[in-house]
Symmetry: C3
Subunit: 316 residues, 3 copies
Amino acid sequence: MNAIKLWFRSVAQVMFQANAWCGVLLLAGIFLGAYSAGTPEVAWGAVVGTTVAILTGCLLGYPRDEATQGLWGFNGILVGCALMTFLGSTPLGWAALVVCAAMTTWVRVGLNRLGEPLGVSSYTFPFVLSTWIFLAAARMFGGIDIVALAHPMLPTSFVHTHLSHDSLPTLIEFCQWTLRGISQVFLIDSWLTGALFVVGLAIARPAAALWAVVGSAGGAAVALLFGAPTEAIAHGMYGFSPVLTAIALGTLAPIHTPLRKAVWALVGIVGTVFVQASMNELLAPVGLPSLTAPFCIATWLFMLPIANNHKPTKKD
Amino acid sequence: MNAIKLWFRSVAQVMFQANAWCGVLLLAGIFLGAYSAGTPEVAWGAVVGTTVAILTGCLLGYPRDEATQGLWGFNGILVGCALMTFLGSTPLGWAALVVCAAMTTWVRVGLNRLGEPLGVSSYTFPFVLSTWIFLAAARMFGGIDIVALAHPMLPTSFVHTHLSHDSLPTLIEFCQWTLRGISQVFLIDSWLTGALFVVGLAIARPAAALWAVVGSAGGAAVALLFGAPTEAIAHGMYGFSPVLTAIALGTLAPIHTPLRKAVWALVGIVGTVFVQASMNELLAPVGLPSLTAPFCIATWLFMLPIANNHKPTKKD
Amino acid sequence: MNAIKLWFRSVAQVMFQANAWCGVLLLAGIFLGAYSAGTPEVAWGAVVGTTVAILTGCLLGYPRDEATQGLWGFNGILVGCALMTFLGSTPLGWAALVVCAAMTTWVRVGLNRLGEPLGVSSYTFPFVLSTWIFLAAARMFGGIDIVALAHPMLPTSFVHTHLSHDSLPTLIEFCQWTLRGISQVFLIDSWLTGALFVVGLAIARPAAALWAVVGSAGGAAVALLFGAPTEAIAHGMYGFSPVLTAIALGTLAPIHTPLRKAVWALVGIVGTVFVQASMNELLAPVGLPSLTAPFCIATWLFMLPIANNHKPTKKD
């Protein structure tokens, strides 16, 4: 019973919630999105990744209190989603997934030692770092199939376009874009999944659900304003990192005045969109996805100046 | 009155001086250079960038003693110069400048927390990091015009050239190159501006003026010796980072023997030239300028082994 | 007498041994390999690099106890091997080598200050960082000849190949690959050199010799399994970093149960192969070699979670 609770809390911790029911709804959203996209391996990758990461924590004998908060497995589930999105579902692909998901458990412990004296966490960066290593390696390894990585290319500027009335989405479309931005946190491109995620978050912490929506909508709006390609915005590519930044800053930042905290989260959303765009540019020559690195980088830049010098209590 | 002093000290802090008259001369140099090059927006960008960065410090309630030393605004002025040099002077370009300049104020506080226990400062890296993010993002955003960024390309080796008598500059030319290297600290390409900068530094601290000249001349000489493209050297591109390294090491390094300190600064100048050339190579595929990153990296490499384990007092 | 001992211990410290006879055999292996490959400058580069790095430590007055352990010079010897492998043996090439080798001595002191509170060392990263700077700079400098750097290119995926019986090496071949992987630690491509290295390690510490062999063989096996190009594996390119990771984790990791320590080292070997492949991909657009960066990165990722919070005593 406790093991099941712990398992689903690991899913929910991607969104900073130690709540098993939230995890159930997130996983339901992942299965819904993966199966409707015809990529069930993404959902099963999530299951395997979470399980492997948790078992690794058991094998290494890490402190149980982190486990009960779901902190062992949340990087593993993201590894599972990402590797089965970008690599082929072959025996060697799954072997890479297992090693990569296991690695996140101890990489998180190592990276948190860097952030601890500064009062910041490694967030999802153990997932980002491990997944970058395995995706980049996959391109050098003939034995691993690549199914969805971008071709390495020199970054090219988009044609100069100003925001016009024609390029603006309808309200319905904009709501779908916003929900897709939330579903993309787990690399799922489905507004229905995004809606399930919002419900799951609302169960755990209504403020988190609110900030997820504000983060995704704000990210899309800023990207629209500065002329990012509409196609990318519509599929939630400018939403998923701001979602996480918004929940982190809006609900966990150590700022005591609610208004100041909200303003800080809003500025953080704007900053994350620029970090997202810059990482798209910087990673083009090596053909890697940014994953949730823009969230991690932006959140560090906004958390470091305000974090306290003691061990943080939330999301370690 | 104090606000004006604080404002001009922020300008001077780019060159490590908490001296308002020095700041006045530096700003005069920027206006002279920008207007004669037909790019007045660079000078006004400097004014806006400084102002925004200082106001951000006020809004965030940061400690006033740093403000009176001019430490809130020096990254902001560099953001202003850089963004108006590389991006178009459009409403969205100015919006990016405002967000970017504001960001440097808290990014500096955050990054200084990393360096504090090691006795080093973030130097101008808050400017470098924020500006890289916004320039890279600008290439992905159709709404922001790019006017002067290099086209992304794979780095190519320069044709093998040995130093010959013909390629050597005359003494007058070499002096102009040296002064241009100093003016390039603020992205201005004008030997007259460089001369004004030297005068400004001499008012604040004669040793700083001396090291600025030695840094720029030394950088140009080392680059010439190792066969860097003459064109780049002539426009001060191998001078601006060594200028800052030379002032930092030559006047602020915690070395007690003057001779050892001078030798350390001279070796630091040589090291900075290699870091500069390497960053030109590394950034070619993403088409970003090195900004003052070579100064930051070289100065960290030369400061870390000698810095003390307590809070530094100069330029935090 | 002590100076000679110290000198050869510096050579041996690349492989984590403070043993002069081990250093003698390593140097013999380097000379054997370099002269049979017709590149004697690599061997003499090693001699000059070690000497310059040690003299730099003397000039800077660093603590003698580190010197007697051979910790001043081990980055310098690698700089000597690397720069004379990739750059031409010209006066300016040797000048670059001298500056670069000297730099490693204080860069190591600086970087160790970062790792000390976390209980990890900078390993060979001072060599990696300094050499990357000088190799990247060499491409921008017409005065320095490049003889062996890869051409910058966008990374391309290898054709999909599954492991087949035909592509498997014979046992003799696999032993040669393994020994070449060990010789490649010093950028030498010779199984005979690798054999000398194993003997040298066995003199100093039999367990280190064993782990070197296991690391190189394991690296080659994992690379074969995941379909890395056979040519690269045969020349030891997937062996040299796992060799160092295996010695570091297998003999120096602060794990008390021998079996757990051995398993940790084996998993570390697998992880290093993926880091190696990923760095080959990431460095392709700038045409730089990975050097021993994969060893450093993998070892940090495996050491940080288990390292103690006090000053480490081995290989500082």
